[in-house]
């Protein structure tokens, strides 16, 4: 029974396409996140939602749009994909404060060709 599940696990797509990555958590956490791990292995926050409300929006191109239909789901939609978007995207959730640590999903490896 996966705590934070994200789909798909692998995504290969052409430049210019639009794609979505879905994330769901069954931990009852209030806060969900999207992190990007680039080729240099740097894990960097993109977005954070608390109870469906956007609370963190780092400097991310507006081609990336998170959507939270309810507090258990945070999906990531990417328009007009570029080569530089190739990375591993991790969804995570936490109780209201990040001090208790996150629970991460297993990641989605996005490859743009």
């Amino acid at each position: 029974d996966t705590a934070v599940s994200q789909t798909p696990k692998y995504l290969v797509t052409q430049m210019g396409n639009d794609k979505s990555i879905k994330c769901e958590q069954n931990l009852g956490h209030d806060t969900m996140y999207w992190y990007k791990q680039d080729s240099k292995k740097f894990l960097k926050i993109m977005f954070s939602y608390n109870n469906k409300e956007l609370i963190i929006n780092e400097t991310v191109p507006n081609r990336f749009s998170p959507k939270s239909p309810d507090k258990a789901h945070l999906n990531l939609h990417i328009n007009s994909l570029e080569l530089g978007d190739s990375a591993v995207y991790f969804c995570a959730s936490s109780p209201a404060s990040g001090m208790k640590g996150y629970t991460f999903g297993s990641g989605t490896r996005l490859t743009v060709v």
Partner: protein
Amino acid sequence: DQQVKQNSPSLSVQEGRISILNCDYTNSMFDYFLWYKKYPAEGPTFLISISSIKDKNEDGRFTVFLNKSAKHLSLHIVPSQPGDSAVYFCAANAGGGNKLTFGTGTQLKVEL
């Protein structure tokens, strides 16, 4: 601007010996630090944390040390086991907020 740095991308240790993973930070507002462990094709999992009011926290084979004046923390694993082979990420939090800032990770390999 990388506020959390793990300058050793890899570390190799023999089974049974001590593994020491290091982490440095630049932001003096960070007051809570965490270590995560990551296996291939999996997400990072929480390992151990420390508040800035402490200088040491221990959990079984894992101990984290914090030196605030040097803005440095380290994770000690003793004795190291082959199952400890993974990437270890250091992370920091400021003021109890939601955002964690991660380092780039250190690949630990524990050899038989």
